[in-house]
């Protein structure tokens, strides 16, 4: 038999003995990492297998294996695409993603560049320390404070009324939802996201600035011709990462902020998955929506990565 050919047997024995050698050599390392591997298997890979529920009629008492396959197989996907809400979800997801990128991405860069130009060392330190703070505050508190400040008798509306306007019910007006969502995100993260640019700026060789002063360059010219080009690779790398993650809008904050009155502009795929899946217990349908959403996300990540690899030779993998 071919399988018992002497060369093969020897090869197999070699591989086995190498494995045995490795196992005994690294037995402590294996033991140390075992709990972490178990975590990944249980809570990352098992759920990955669990996405098959999108192709089944999942019944919680039958389990993932026991449930029947959907008939037709793509039933839940087609009912998603044909759903009345599909265009709305698609529109909201896209608009919020783009707005988020548009504001969340450049502001930390501008803030870092400005910080770098601050004359007073103490002011710079205070501004840095304060700007990181909101990053550590919980979403519930951020949304809670925002709701309070913007409530109909809140501070903002007191100002509006004093200026002769009528109080605006910000959280019940679909028109304001995206602004509030994106704005509070910027408030929370602009300082934290600037850290990486500040570090990149600090790494610029100071001799370049000294040379440029000799050549008579002013501040603007230094910024434009030295600082910005020096941190450009950082900016581009982060841009890829940000674009790749663009459609991953977290449902955590959306479901805190929205209500029936603002679904029109607030409901995105992930929040819809939460509502359908966990509140209405339509597991298979929600699983299909979630799977479609993450497939699109991965596609965009790979696409941006490929584009930037080709155009500016920077890629994250």
């Amino acid at each position: 038999m071919l399988a018992n050919h002497p060369a093969r047997v020897e090869k197999r024995q070699n591989a086995l003995s190498r494995l045995g050698y490795n196992l005994s050599k690294d037995k402590h390392l294996l033991l140390i990492i075992l709990p972490t591997v178990l975590f990944y298997l249980l809570f990352c890979y098992w759920p990955m297998y669990g996405v098959v529920i999108a192709f089944k009629d999942f019944n919680i008492s039958l389990g993932i294996l026991g449930s029947d396959w959907a008939n037709p197989l793509f039933k839940h996907f087609s009912s998603m695409v044909n759903s009345y809400y599909f265009p709305r979800l698609l529109r909201n997801t896209l608009i919020i993603s783009v707005e988020q990128l548009l504001f969340n991405f450049p502001l930390p860069i501008i803030f870092a560049l400005l910080l770098n130009e601050v004359r007073s060392k103490r002011l710079k330190l205070v501004a840095q320390t304060c700007s990181y703070l909101p990053h550590f505050i919980s979403m519930v508190v951020v949304v809670g404070i925002m709701m309070d400040l913007l409530s109909t008798d809140g501070l903002v509306n007191q100002l509006v009324v004093r200026m002769g306007g009528a109080a605006i019910p910000f959280f019940n007006e679909p028109d304001y939802f995206r602004t509030l969502y994106v704005g509070s995100g910027v408030w929370q993260e602009f300082g934290w996201n600037s850290i990486i640019y500040l570090a990149a700026i600090a790494a610029v060789d100071t001799q370049q600035y000294e040379a440029s002063i000799v050549d008579g360059a002013g501040r603007w010219k230094q910024l434009w011709y030295i600082t910005l080009p020096s941190i450009a690779p950082t900016i581009i790398t982060l841009l890829i990462i940000n674009m790749g993650w663009m459609l991953n809008i977290g449902y955590e904050k959306i479901i805190l902020m929205y209500n029936r009155a603002t679904y029109e502009t607030a409901d995105v795929f992930s929040s819809y998955v939460y509502r359908k899946g966990l509140l209405d217990a339509q597991y298979s349908f929600a699983g299909a929506v979630g799977l479609a959403n993450s497939a699109v996300n991965i596609f965009i990540l790979l696409l941006t990565n490929a584009i930037s690899k080709r155009t500016c030779d920077i890629s994250i993998f």
Binding site: I32, P35, Y40, Y45, V143, W192, G287, S294
Partner: protein
């Protein structure tokens, strides 16, 4: 650098910075002032910047409210136990993955990094947690999130920067990996441990979604869920609803929101100054590898 006069540009930049500081701090000052003002000014929302009148009655009342105390203690439990577990697992896994001679190093690194890009999503995770019998268990909000791949990568990169020659000499003296990890690498890693404690600790303290979907038992819920119920879904706590006959009590209810926010941010406020100098480093190590 020579001392020069402040130009118009300097003044504008300084002004922008002061505005930025004000905008970031204002909501915190507002909440703190509201929690310390006299209840009648809070009810009519007359506080703008500094407290009007002074009263710490709302804090006194919080200390008597059983729901707040229970959820606060729950949060502390989740944060302490979760952070301990997370940091130990992350550090030890980071150690293993930073060993260049480890025969599964590349395979396991790939196995773990892949999950940053592909995951099962919310619904399958929910089903798995339920099938494991973790629903309404304290472990449901720790175990499914115990290792963050991002933090693991930060930790691995940090440990890779420690020269392996130190481990080699110990190995010749007969030390195994447990001893090398705990006796040699751990003492050298205080800064990365601080970063991990901060990231995981804040994560557990602030998490509300996992408890929302996995813990329906009120006795297990953390402070963030309590906050959600009074701030966002605006339910009065059951205790105050039951006892809420007194006028004084009704006056206080509004203010309790603010004091509870302050109390919930208190642990972070204490921790913040100590770890502040470390986290820039943490972000940097992460950024290099991300």
């Amino acid at each position: 650098m020579k001392k020069t006069r402040w130009t118009l540009g300097d003044v504008i930049i300084a002004f922008v910075m002061i505005m930025a500081i004000f905008i970031t701090l204002y909501p915190f000052i507002y909440v703190l002032s509201m929690s310390l003002s006299e209840p009648k000014y809070v009810l009519s929302k007359q506080v703008v910047l500094l407290p009007k009148g002074f009263s710490i009655d709302s804090y006194r009342m919080i200390l008597q409210e059983q729901t707040v105390l229970t959820s606060f203690m729950n949060s502390i439990w989740y944060t302490v136990v979760g952070t301990l577990l997370s940091v130990s697992l992350t550090f030890s896994a980071g150690y293993v993955l930073s060993r260049r001679s480890f025969f599964l190093r590349r395979a396991l690194s790939f196995f773990m990094t892949l999950t940053m890009f592909i995951n099962g999503g919310l619904i399958p995770l929910y089903i798995v947690v339920c099938q494991l019998g973790l629903y309404n268990s304290r472990w449901a909000i720790i175990l499914p999130y115990v290792v963050s791949t991002y933090n693991l990568i930060i930790c691995r990169s940090f440990l890779e920067s420690i020269p392996e020659s130190m481990a080699e000499s110990a190995r010749i003296d007969g030390a195994n990996d447990w001893i090398i990890m705990l006796r040699i690498y751990l003492p050298l890693s205080s800064s990365i441990i601080a970063v991990l404690i901060l990231f995981y600790g804040v994560g557990y303290w602030n998490s509300y979604f996992a408890p929302l979907i996995f813990l329906s038992d009120k006795a297990l819920q953390p402070i963030q869920l309590y906050l959600r119920s009074i701030l966002i879904t605006s339910q009065m706590s059951s205790a105050s609803a039951a006892a809420g006959v007194g006028v004084e009590r009704a006056l206080m209810n509004e203010q309790l929101k603010y004091s509870t926010i302050v109390v919930s941010c208190f642990p972070i406020a204490i921790l913040y100054p100590f770890v502040q100098r470390h986290f820039v480093k943490g972000v940097m190590i992460g950024a290099v590898k991300a």
